[in-house]
Symmetry: C2
Subunit: 390 residues, 2 copies
Amino acid sequence: MTSLLLTGSAELVTNDPGVGDGSPLGVLPDGAWVVEGGNVVWVGSRTEAPAADVAHDLAGRAVIPGFVDSHSHLVFAGDRAAEFTARMSGQPYSAGGIRSTVESTRAAGDELLAANLARLVTELTRQGTTTVEVKSGYGLTVIDEARCLALARQLTPETTYLGAHVVPDEYADDPAAYIDLVTGPMLDACAPYARWVDVFCEHGAFDVDAARAVLVAGRAMGLTPRIHANQLGPGPGVQLACEIGAASADHCTYLSDADVDALASADVVATLLPGVEFSTRSPYPDARRLLAAGVTVALATDCNPGSCYTTSIPLCIALAVREMAMTPAEALWSATMGGARALLRDDIGRLGVGSRADFAVLDAPSYVHLAYRPGVPLVHAVWRAGHRVV
Amino acid sequence: MTSLLLTGSAELVTNDPGVGDGSPLGVLPDGAWVVEGGNVVWVGSRTEAPAADVAHDLAGRAVIPGFVDSHSHLVFAGDRAAEFTARMSGQPYSAGGIRSTVESTRAAGDELLAANLARLVTELTRQGTTTVEVKSGYGLTVIDEARCLALARQLTPETTYLGAHVVPDEYADDPAAYIDLVTGPMLDACAPYARWVDVFCEHGAFDVDAARAVLVAGRAMGLTPRIHANQLGPGPGVQLACEIGAASADHCTYLSDADVDALASADVVATLLPGVEFSTRSPYPDARRLLAAGVTVALATDCNPGSCYTTSIPLCIALAVREMAMTPAEALWSATMGGARALLRDDIGRLGVGSRADFAVLDAPSYVHLAYRPGVPLVHAVWRAGHRVV
């Protein structure tokens, strides 16, 4: 196997508190690392670097672990730009929200869905994301959920079955029958293509009993639970996540003290999605309260055509700093290690011996520029499993 | 001269209300245009397009006039990432703000300053900006102000003499002597390289009498006034802009009813810079109040290493929609035609017969995506004076 030595970064973020400055980011000011077989096999100071077959110089750029976007909805057709304009202009709009995307998605052929998905994955990769979780949830029939997951599975192992996104129109009069479908034939068809099971536990979507039934059924088929919880108002979603041992409770905008305590005690990750609050003009979750309680916080995009159509983790970092008073260091950690924790992965989200060689090279001397220079495309190069992909 | 026909845009924004949908943006759903000698010589529907020497198909992408960024400070050395981190983390920080950039800039050679400037101009061009105004203001000596403007003049004709940015430390005990310098020898040295004269009229910077003296002296040397006004609190800056007939009053965060009336009556553009409020966690200006009063509103970045280190007009558009309740159409108009008005230009900021062929091609079917997809680098290609530059 060819070994590759990377040097010349102004600042290497490892996310290993045992190296460098001793902070959670483990920043090495003149770090070097060696990649072999797609993994990192050595990290340290440039002056101590071992010999390697090939050397690559990064010309003074900062290097960070590739972003781990642990929450997205990328398999769909159509867009909802008109709904966005109406919402942000304060006009009423009644075009059916998620259901309009369901209609477009069902009507789309596999080729169109795959092209849309590939375009979005290319776009997020260019912005530094090297691992992305992708949910179904715009098919809502057995065949459409299964084909959406099969398409996603071709691009990422982190696929999530979200048949329980909303109750589709055709089951409006009999939501219990839809739960039977989601926990029965639809689950059977989708489980082969999914790692995770998710449910939108919210007033207007699924109540706590339905949500529990969906997660328990998914777990029985080998899927691991995660959940959309407490986004639009207080509710039982976070407590359910903790009760059932979900990997992550996502959104967490409206939390009671008991919810915060439960997340900390159960070691369930709180995944915050500030792009949604940005694009819906809603209040942001209280990240500082979660951090103060010792909860593990992840940052992800929630990229979807309705409430947040961004693929940009750098924007989410800038929003986390501006709107949730996270420090630039906390925000970067949450978008890398936090995302990895939310996906129960220990091979990504960091740069250390044994980790996958996934990293982004920034046109900046420090990771701080991700928040300091909002909106600027700072990603110069992206490497995944030791190969340069951008 | 070779003529070039461009077709295949899903949506062409002309900013000519006489064409297309009749809105201020003048959107042609299947627009075509012909470029010759760097200018647009024909615009209309694809089906009526004349023959041309060369044809170029835009494959269904939306096209907008190139952004006109009418307020930036791009000639400097160093950055202030540590100050940013401290400010956003609520920590005290006393490292001297603008003065620390003045120190770095004075110490830098022309080559370094030119390289920094070129990097930022490349960066903003990639994000769709085809005209940028650049101010001095980090030299604050005769020689340093003049060399900063001479460097800027090599990249843009829209250069602004801002010797009156702050009173430098060496004049702290005698600010009147600094005004004498700014209106005397420094002006003489700078005027050959500048189109505009500007002053930071604010408590802690220059009072209204000093500001008036600077603008009047600049005008006597052939420069046209513009002003930093009412950013940090109420003040006389906007009234001075109207009294003196400045092209634009920039910031406009704290306005009285009389200020708004004066801007409307005097036809002075209000240039809003929401990236500053984003990066300093400050209240945003009230764009709707200005629009309701009939004031012409421009959007610009204010790119500078202290209060707002973004070159991204797309971010400013997204912020204008999210935080200032501008519609996506109003925000785009302000970032194109609004900027052109703030620079007293009628050849840019629009796509019509006689305009310069400056435009951005978006990886999106509509300009609405600039706000709907925040943080995503949507600019596919940029053309300036009929040549593709990105």
